[in-house]
Every structure is written in structure tokens, then in C-alpha cells.
Amino acid sequence: MNGSRAIGRDFARRLLRNRLAAAGGAVILFFFLVSALPGLFASHEPNRIDIVNILRPPSAAHPLGTDDLGRDVLARVVYGARVSLKVGFVAVGIATALGLLVGLLSGFYGGWVDAVLMRFVDMMLCFPTFFLILSVIAFLDPSILNIMAVIGLTGWMGVARLVRAETLSIKERDFVAAARAQGAGDARIIFRHVLPNTLAPILVAATLGVAGAILTESALSFLGIGVQPPTPSWGNILTAGKDNIEYAWWLSLFPGLAILFTVLGYNLLGEGIRDAADPRLKGR
């Protein structure tokens, strides 16, 4: 397995050399750190209400000011990072798992399984996704769990198609036939040969998916059916800031920037992974 480790090292080197991707990765790492150790970044409780200090501008006590219930904006943005990133990751986790499953089944078994699954994928792709998410969230209730599930359940089609295509092409290769002849089972072929080859494109799709999910949550919050307060999410802090945008700029600016930088970071990293994984692009 030396070969694959070398490829991995090569990949990492290429990725790091891409300065934009590295910057994106740094932003992401930073917010990981923030959500892992929120106490390190915020000294206040995110839900501590302080009626006397409503909508105070940034000060020493509250570096990013206070919100419309006197809560510390820094603390809310910091704890909101947890919620927003969780939404992003769980949603993408669901989408990727589902996409993998459908793609593998479809590509590996072909025939009517493939036909049925792919028609279903076609159908799902026809729905305006946001309309679908909107209906489901409104019909159920806007709990974090539902939001993550719905974003995930409406975002797996791309991965499914990708995995299916890869599976189809690998299935026909000589080394798979050889493996089969040696008595390798489906599972072994899938894990040893198919999955490693789809890893990079799935990683790219997942990275972009996280960014998309964070944006979708903020759009839902704007419509009043995102993560519900008092639980802080970047989307609902920004929405609260929207109504005070001219007076209390700090309440919208900081969650807005957090979303902007994070989504930007994921996109740049995703692009970087794509470039780095495609050695043909190395030359120019």
C-alpha cells in the first residue's frame, strides 16, 4: 500500500501549494476549533439575557456587541458555529451515505435496480430543491434534526450519479474481474476498488455540500423556519440582525461574515481538492 500513501502525500502537497485552498482550509480549521472549544473564544453564556443592555454596540465587555435581548453576540456567534456546522455536516453525512448506497446499488447491480433508482434520481432532480425543503420543514416542525434530515434527503442525487458512473467504469476493468476470479465478494470489491476511486469527487461534493447546507439554513431562518431561537445559529442571528440592520450593524455584520467566510472557505477547499486530485492539471 506504499503506492497509495505516496499518492496521498502527493495530493496533500498539491493541496497545500494551492494558496486559496490552504486559506479556505485554515478558515475551516479555525471554525472547527471555535466550535470545539467555545469557552476559549467567548466568556459569556450565549443565552444569558440582559434586558438592561439591549442592542449595545461592541465594547470591552461585549467585543461584538449585544443582541435584541442583551445577549452577547460573540458568544452567540461562537456557539452558533457549532449549530451551523452541525447542520452542515450531518446534512452532508446523510446525503453522502444515501448517495453512496444508491450509486453503488445502481452501478453494481445494474438492470432493473439501476433503471428504477436512476428514474427516481431523475425525478428528484426535477424538484426545485428549496421548494421541497421549505414544504417539508413547514409541514413538520423546524427542529434542527428535521432541518438536517431534509437538507440531507434532498441533496444526495449528485453523489449517487457520481458513484454510479465510477462503479460502472470500474466494474468492467480487468483487475476487478481478476479479483472476482480469486473469489473476492461484492463487499470486498466495493471497499477495495470502487470506494477509493470515488473518494476525491465525493470529498469535493461533500465540501460544497456543507457550504450549501449552511446557506440553506440561513435562508430558512430568514423565512422564520430555520433553527429556532433561542438556540443560536448563524442564520437566525443574522435574521435578528436584519431587522435592526441600520441601527445595530454589529448584529448582522458578524454572523454575516461568519457565514461568508465559512462558505467561501469550503468552496475554495473543495476546488483545491478537485484540482489536487486531478493530476492531469498539474502541468499548467
Partner: protein, 546 residues
């Protein structure tokens, strides 16, 4: 007052919306206009910002605030509430109630014409009544009319209704918009008639056009029976986002809208804003409450409910949610109205008292949480999604209750699911909701023990024999004194029992561009005399061909 306004305010009754009931006038007019001659003049247009679109103009078949407001320009009822929230005649010039209280005789105004020129007569009233009780009319307001035993129109200007027994809310029910018989009789279902989209009424304004989702335009009715309105044109613009609407106001795209408390307190206190706008505030007709499912093991005990009332910091709620623009609610009536009883048991913020009551009830503190029989005091409060004020209320209450050792979790659900899955199925511990306060104090449907069935409004399951008796008494007499006594006593019992913790009554916060004159705030708000509003000739902004 955020986005889905329709759900922010509980769906309310036609009547009470039309009259934009408010109280305790309190003008906040700052820089009144310059040295312009302040003489009423005809002309100009007013642009109203509305969060929701109209869904139809026949108020019998619509339930949302935007539709009822728009229809109010075009239609009239037999009666309406005046500036002091007393019933007065509109299309009825006067009325008599028979001594036994069972018969009401309306004398209609002479010479009133529909916008198409046809005369208005008692036939129209009779037709409206028949359509209200017609099963083919998809109305939610038929109930009051079904109480009518017999209706007759002895002549073209007289309309008589008889009830099986005296029914006090009956009079107000005749504020229902009267429909033109000659235009509607060929439609078995009035909601499908063209009039629902292009209304023809008797009101101060004539319908011009409705661009769905965009705007509705009305022009002054020169033949209006109270005189031609000064403002020649009314345009209601649909702007779904509150922040956008405020920007439109500032840039001149909207002349009148309702402000949110932060907008009222923080964003409109500049000299520049005062130069162009007048702000008003008056007690709105609604209150917010924390309601308990009374069969829940936690809330069965009156002492627990009283303790929560002591724990809830109403001052903090008013300061935090409303930025001070509201008052404490002590019961289900509006402060300052005749049915309101100011002398009921009050629950000032007192965590000590709350803890003592909880201790009495057997709850002992352990590691900061109250425990009884090994069970921690932990419950979930439900409220509807997208309502900013209620979400904030929940957050503050959560903190208040934590101080006395009660853990309250918050869950928000979108309106339709909230009602169907939780309220109707009684699957809740406690809720944060609001009621509109109707000018007539009859609240039989909310408090009577017979109204606890599925889909009925006493969903907390309140049952008190004395209240039942008083509710019955209060609605079956027209004697104001007797009614007052009944409703005062009801409020005392409610304050003692605390089936709801009554939280606050917010202020209504309209703002109007200051070229509009003749606005006289009153308990009913500012729009009750809309037809008398005007813009002095020199200040008129829009040229409108009358």
C-alpha cells in the same frame, strides 16, 4: 409583528379587525408641518404597507387581517365601533332592542347607493343574513347568525331579527359587511363570485384594481354617505419583509405602516425622521399569555401556576420583547375598557414567593432543579415558528423559571402543525400564544367548561362552575351593569386560578407620513376617521384624477 403577520396575530373575527380597535390615544407627533395652511383639501394618494396580500374582498369568506383591512374601504356593516369602541350605526341609522332583549330592529340609512348606483335596501341585509347561514357559503363566521330565530324586512329601510333568548354579542355581529344582493344572488357560493376579486360596496372607497401579490388600488367614492373622503386614492402595497417595508417608508415608497418596537424606539428617533413622520401608539387589542394544560401533573396544582406567575418577570418581558411599549396583562381584557377589572390579584416578580409556593406544593430544590417524588420539574413550552415576539418571550421566561428551579424547554412549530398536532390533540404541557381582545367581552368559547372538546378553544381545559354561570349570565343580557359585574368577577377568578399566566398587552405602533392631517388618536386607534384625513393642497405629492 414579523413576517407571517397572519399567524403572528391569532386569526380573529371579522368585526373586530375592521375597526382596528385600540385604546388610550397617545399621539407622538413631533415636528408638525411647517407654515402650510392647514385647510382640508381633496386629492393626493396614501400608500399603505402591508405584509400580506389580500386573499379576497368578501370578509364573510376570508379570515386574514390584510383582506379584512382592504375590504373595510369598500364595504360597510349595519353597525361599527366608534372612536371609543362603542357600537354606533353605520348602514343602520339607529336600532331598538325590545324590552325582553330578544328582538333587534334596525332602521337603515336612507339614500345609500352601491358603487354601481343601485340603491341599498333591507333586501341586501336579508340576503347577507341568508348567505351567512347558507351551508354553501364557506364562512367561519356563521355561528352568531345561526342564533337568529327569525329575520324579516318589513319595509325597504327596516330589518328585524329575533333571537330565542337575549344574546348580547348579537348586536356586534351585525358589523358583518353587507353584500349587494343584485350582484351576488346568481352565485350560490359567494367566494366564487367575481365580487370577491372586484368588490362593489357602499363604503368610502371604490375598488379600482388588484394586482395580486403587488398592490390594491381604491379611489374615493364621491357619493359616500358620510361625505366624499379627502384622500383621493388608497394604494395598499404588499411588502412581505418588515425590514424592506421600513426602508420603503424612509425613502418615500410607503406613507403608513406599523412599526416594530425596535423601529419605534431605536430607529425613528432621529431629527430627520421626525421631520417627515408622525408616530402614534395606543394599546392594541390583544394579549400574550403562557397557557397550561391544566390536566398535566405539574400544573394541576393552583399553587404551581401561581408560583410561575410570580416567577415570570413581566417587566423584563415588556422591556425585552416590547422595549417598554406595552403593559402588564392581568386578565383577558384590555386595560381601560369597560369590562376590564383593574383590581384583581396581581403577581409582581417575586422569585422568593414563587419558591415558597412551590415548596408548599411539595417541590424541593436539588442541585438547582426542583424535584418531587423523584421527578424533576421539567416541561416543554410550545409556540409557533416565525413569531419573533413569542420566541423572545419564551427565552426570557426560560431564564425566569430557571431562577426558581424549573427547567423549561422551548419548541417552535409552524402554525398549521402547531394547531393540528399539538393543540387539537392536547399534546402539550404549556403554550405561549396570544388572543385578540374583542370589544364585546363575551369569552364563552374560551373559558366555558363545555368548550373543551376537540378543536374547541378552551384547550387548556379550564372548568370552573362559577365562571360557567357568569359567562352565561354575561352574554344573555344587554344590561351593561349586570354584564360588567359578571365579567369583573370572572377576572377575579381567573387571576386567582391562573389557568393562563397573563403576560402583556403590546402597544400598536403606526407611523404616518406627516403631510397627512386630521389624524385624531383615540382608544380605537387612528384609522377610525380615515375619511376625514387630508393633505393640505400645498403638500400634495401625487396628482390623482378624481
Amino acid at each position: 409583528m414579523r413576517k407571517p403577520l397572519r399567524r403572528a396575530v391569532l386569526p380573529s373575527i371579522a368585526l373586530f379587525l375592521m375597526f382596528a380597535a385600540c385604546g388610550g390615544g397617545n399621539p407622538e407627533s413631533a415636528g408638525k408641518g411647517t407654515a402650510v395652511s392647514d385647510v382640508p383639501a381633496y386629492g393626493d394618494a396614501i400608500v399603505e404597507g402591508s405584509i400580506g396580500d389580500v386573499s379576497g374582498f368578501l370578509t364573510a369568506v376570508t379570515t386574514d387581517a390584510s383582506s379584512h383591512e382592504a375590504a373595510g374601504y369598500v364595504f360597510n356593516g349595519l353597525v361599527r365601533y366608534d372612536k371609543d369602541l362603542k357600537l354606533e350605526g353605520e348602514l343602520a341609522e339607529s336600532w331598538e332592542i325590545s324590552p325582553d332583549g330578544k328582538r333587534i330592529t334596525f332602521h337603515l340609512r336612507k339614500g345609500v347607493k352601491w358603487h354601481d348606483g343601485a340603491p341599498f335596501t333591507s333586501d341586501d341585509v336579508m340576503f347577507t343574513y341568508r348567505r351567512m347561514i347558507d351551508p354553501r357559503t364557506p364562512t367561519a363566521y356563521g355561528e352568531d347568525f345561526r342564533q337568529v330565530k327569525r329575520a324579516s324586512a318589513p319595509d325597504s329601510l327596516t330589518f328585524v331579527v329575533e333571537y330565542a333568548r337575549p344574546f348580547a354579542p348579537a348586536l356586534a355581529s351585525w358589523g358583518m359587511h353587507v353584500l349587494p344582493k343584485h350582484l351576488l344572488e346568481k352565485y350560490p357560493d359567494i367566494s366564487k363570485s367575481p365580487l370577491n376579486k372586484k368588490p362593489v360596496g357602499t363604503g368610502p372607497y371604490r375598488f379600482v384594481e388588484w394586482k395580486t401579490g403587488e398592490k390594491v388600488v381604491f379611489d374615493a367614492n364621491p357619493d359616500y354617505f358620510e361625505g366624499k373622503p379627502y384622500i383621493s386614492r388608497v394604494i395598499t402595497r404588499v411588502i412581505p419583509d418588515q425590514a424592506t417595508m421600513f426602508l420603503e417608508l424612509k425613502s418615500g415608497g410607503v406613507d403608513i405602516m406599523t412599526l416594530t418596537p425596535p423601529q419605534y424606539v431605536r430607529q425613528t428617533e432621529t431629527a430627520e425622521f421626525r421631520k417627515s413622520f408622525n408616530k402614534y401608539k395606543y394599546t392594541s387589542s390583544g394579549y400574550t399569555y403562557l397557557g397550561f394544560r391544566l390536566s398535566n401533573t405539574f400544573f394541576k396544582d393552583k399553587r404551581v401556576r401561581q408560583a410561575i406567575a410570580y416567577a415570570a418577570d413581566k417587566k423584563a418581558l415588556i422591556d425585552g420583547v416590547l422595549l417598554g411599549l406595552g403593559q402588564e396583562a392581568t386578565g383577558p381584557y384590555k386595560p381601560g375598557t369597560w369590562a376590564y377589572n383593574p383590581n384583581v390579584r396581581k403577581y409582581p416578580h417575586d422569585p422568593g414567593q414563587a419558591k415558597a409556593l412551590l415548596n408548599d406544593a411539595g417541590w424541593k430544590e436539588k442541585d438547582g432543579v426542583l424535584v418531587k417524588d423523584g421527578q424533576p420539574f421539567e416541561f416543554t413550552v410550545l409556540t409557533n415558528a416565525g413569531n419573533d415576539a413569542r420566541a423572545k418571550t419564551a427565552a426570557i421566561l426560560q431564564q425566569n423559571l430557571a431562577e426558581v428551579g424549573i427547567r423549561m424547554k422551548i419548541r417552535t412549530v409552524e402554525w398549521a402543525a402547531f394547531i393540528n398536532e399539538f393543540i387539537d390533540k392536547r399534546k402539550f404541557d404549556a403554550v405561549i400564544l396570544g388572543w385578540n381582545i374583542t370589544p364585546d367581552p363575551d369569552q364563552f368559547d374560551i373559558w366555558h367548561s363545555s368548550k373543551t372538546g376537540p378543536k374547541e378553544l378552551n384547550f387548556v381545559g379550564f372548568a370552573n362552575p362559577e365562571v360557567d354561570r357568569l359567562l352565561d349570565e354575561g352574554r344573555s343580557t344587554f344590561d351593561l351593569e349586570k354584564r360588567m359585574k359578571a365579567y369583573f368577577r370572572i377576572q377575579e377568578i381567573l387571576a386567582e386560578e391562573q389557568p393562563y399566566v397573563f403576560l402583556y398587552v403590546p402597544e400598536a405602533l403606526p407611523v404616518v407620513q406627516n403631510r397627512f392631517r386630521g389624524i385624531v388618536p383615540a382608544p380605537a386607534g387612528i384609522t377610525y376617521n380615515f375619511v376625514k384625513w387630508y393633505v393640505p393642497a400645498a403638500l400634495q405629492k401625487h396628482k390623482v384624477q378624481p
